[in-house]
């Protein structure tokens, strides 16, 4: 027997816009809810939420729960957690999805700990399937398969929560695809009284100061990405990659190793612990190709690998492999592009 409880997505928003990661999860949530034959619900918590449902309904949500209070924006852990805990006890969702963002990764564990529900972080795929407990032989139908890399990305594990509800999972931005289901779709809006869900004593953390900058980096949506790895060797050499990216009208990305080495900022990290990208062209410079990086860029249409190691693992998934020193090859690409374009 499978439960007919619904699937809920915790939606983040800022400056009146629902976050992309939440819309991506609504898209995935709709598919999973259809598969299970249940409703897709969304929850938005904050301030000034008027009309926010208009951004959510096109993704197929049947219900949007709204909890408004001036103190609920910007996000702090305890008040948002208190609302989820109380609401989930009432509506008993079978699945809860949230973004693997600073907010989702702060909120999810707190809620799952209180509900003893189990949570899988940073899933790269979500599916519905059956499960048989290998020890007890007990069979479960229609569980959420929470598929995620583990061990630094060297293995992929499928996790299930057989007995506890909700089955909770977080997913990074860009991993799922955002797709409008029906621009005309309208569902039900349920306004919840904040006072019934959150106590004054929950507001323990005080935000003294907050500087949120609109990200200048937009690698996720760039059609061309020039990415550098540890093999680029220095911050200075990364300038070459910026030159190439600027010439081609693309963005610069990086592997974790390059970010860890301090060559470039974390915002540009591509891979399981960074952003997932699917550009038209991906030029990998000095990237050996650890699994955790490849997982974040393998769906690129064309991959060029520039590496002085002819046996770099990334070469196996590249369409073009240029063997040699990146410091020499990148300027040549710039030169011949300038010569041949127009």
């Amino acid at each position: 027997m499978s439960d007919k409880n619904n699937l809920i997505v915790y939606c983040e928003y800022d400056e009146g816009r629902v976050a992309d990661v939440s819309l991506e999860l609504l898209t995935k949530g709709r598919q999973l809810a259809d598969r299970l034959g249940v409703k897709l619900e969304a929850l938005v918590i904050g301030d000034n939420l008027e009309g926010i449902e208009k951004q959510i309904f096109p993704y197929g949500a049947d219900t949007v729960y709204k909890v408004e209070d001036r103190r609920l924006f910007p996000y702090t852990s305890n008040p948002h957690a208190a609302i989820l805990i109380k609401l989930f006890r009432e509506i008993e969702p079978q699945i809860c999805l949230m973004g693997a963002t600073c907010i989702g990764r702060d909120l999810g564990p707190r809620v799952s700990s209180c509900l003893h529900s189990g949570l899988t972080a940073d899933c790269t795929a979500l599916e519905i399937g059956d499960h048989k407990d290998p020890k007890t032989g007990k069979e479960y139908s229609e569980l959420l398969y929470q598929i995620r890399p583990a061990f630094g990305g060297n293995i992929v594990a499928t996790i299930v929560n057989p007995d506890c509800r909700p089955q909770m999972a977080t997913v990074r931005e860009g991993v799922m695809k955002k797709e409008i289901r029906n621009a005309e779709h309208k569902g039900e809006v349920i306004n919840l009284d904040a006072k019934k869900y959150v106590d004054d004593t929950d507001f323990v953390v005080e935000i003294i100061d907050r500087h949120i900058e609109k990200s200048k980096v937009n690698i996720k949506n760039s059609p061309i990405i020039v990415a550098g790895g540890y093999g680029v060797g220095s911050k200075e050499n990364f300038q070459l990659l910026f030159d190439l990216a600027n010439t081609l009208g693309g963005e610069v990305g990086a592997s974790r190793a390059a970010v860890d080495a301090g060559f470039i900022e974390h915002e540009r990290q591509i891979g399981q612990t960074g952003v997932t990208v699917r550009p038209k062209l991906y030029i990998a410079c000095g990237i050996s190709g650890q699994i955790q990086h490849i997982a974040g860029m393998q769906e690129s249409s064309i991959i060029i690998s520039i590496n002085n190691d002819p046996n770099a693992p990334i070469n196996t998934i590249a369409d073009y492999v240029i063997t040699g020193e990146m410091e020499e090859i990148v300027p040549k690409l710039i030169k011949y592009y300038k010569k041949n374009s127009k």
């Binding site: 564990p109 583990a150 293995i155 499928t158 062209l281 374009s341």
Partner: protein, 290 residues
């Protein structure tokens, strides 16, 4: 004001540097090829604790780790760098725990330690990258949490002021103590070992390591209580057997697969002007660029 600080640390396989020899021929992981290290962000947390200790004389920094008995290595390392003491929570019954069962076990050990103002830990461990244990411990202990901390600016008058590093900016928050703080890798690097402390604590051993010492060495350890790193078991911290280890874990691993990527047929080019120009022309012709 002196503070009692607990720092949570984990011994992890170094998954960041998985070289070719780390994968066996059959595609499984050769764990022996991965050194066990101090989880990097836990070192960032230790540094924040040591700075608070420097600024608040009389403070103590107590390390707590859960793992195999050999995790005493991270306690020793932390003591060499300035921590006062440490405890290894180790028990077969704790094995196979998911993050929730781990958090419960660590929360019970924290309760056993008893007196604390701050609990610090790294944002996440590199073997799982989940970032769940910190917030879950906070919830289990009924404490507020501050995640993604980059700098603990002050801890006074019962409040800790913290700069947080978020995806697109920074936030400064004030939180009443006691609380749980998880520290980001972007925080200050941990100070190195202190030579005097290495001399003083080079014989520090866990209870199980002590059984392997020679009689003379054992006598020295016995005469200096600060050289013993206690090992605590599940029963000692009064953990409910139903909430620890595999039975206490709501999440189960259904399957594990090695990651295999489909290899493409690549075109190989050399660092040769003619070939590179041909490639660029081709990409322009098929509208990939330009």
């Amino acid at each position: 004001m002196s503070l009692n600080i607990i720092v949570l640390a984990k011994q992890v396989p170094d998954t960041r540097n998985v070289g070719k020899d780390a994968m066996k021929e059959d595609g499984t992981i050769n764990r022996a090829a991965l050194p066990a290290i101090f989880n990097p962000e836990d070192l960032n947390a230790l540094e924040q604790a040591l700075r608070l200790k420097d600024a608040n004389p009389g403070s103590t920094v107590t390390m707590l780790t859960m793992g195999l008995p050999r995790a005493a290595e991270v306690i020793r390392e932390a003591i060499y760098r300035g921590a006062d003491k440490g405890i290894v929570l180790t028990d077969r019954a704790l094995g196979g725990a998911d993050t929730l069962a781990t958090s419960y076990s660590l929360a019970m050990a924290v309760k056993k330690i008893g007196d604390y103002d701050l609990i610090l830990g790294g944002r996440q461990a590199i073997d799982g990258d989940t970032a769940q244990v910190g917030p879950q411990i906070a919830e289990k202990l009924g404490l507020p949490q501050v995640t993604y901390a980059e700098e603990i600016i002050s801890a006074e008058n019962g409040k800790v002021v913290i700069k947080r590093r978020l995806e697109h900016g920074v936030e400064t928050v004030a939180c009443p103590m006691p609380c749980v703080v998880t520290v980001n890798g972007s925080a200050a690097e941990c100070r190195p070992r202190n030579a005097k402390r290495v001399m003083k604590y080079k014989r520090a051993v866990s209870t199980s390591e002590a059984t392997k010492l020679s009689e003379a060495e054992a006598a020295i350890v016995a005469a200096h209580p600060e050289l013993t790193i206690p090992e605590w078991g599940a029963a000692f911290v009064e953990a409910d057997p139903a909430q620890i280890g595999l039975p206490g874990s709501p999440t189960k691993v259904k399957a594990i697969e090695n990651v295999v990527f489909t290899a493409k047929e690549s075109r190989r080019l050399d660092n040769n002007d003619g070939q590179i120009e041909e490639l660029v022309k081709e990409l322009i012709a098929n509208h990939t660029i330009g």
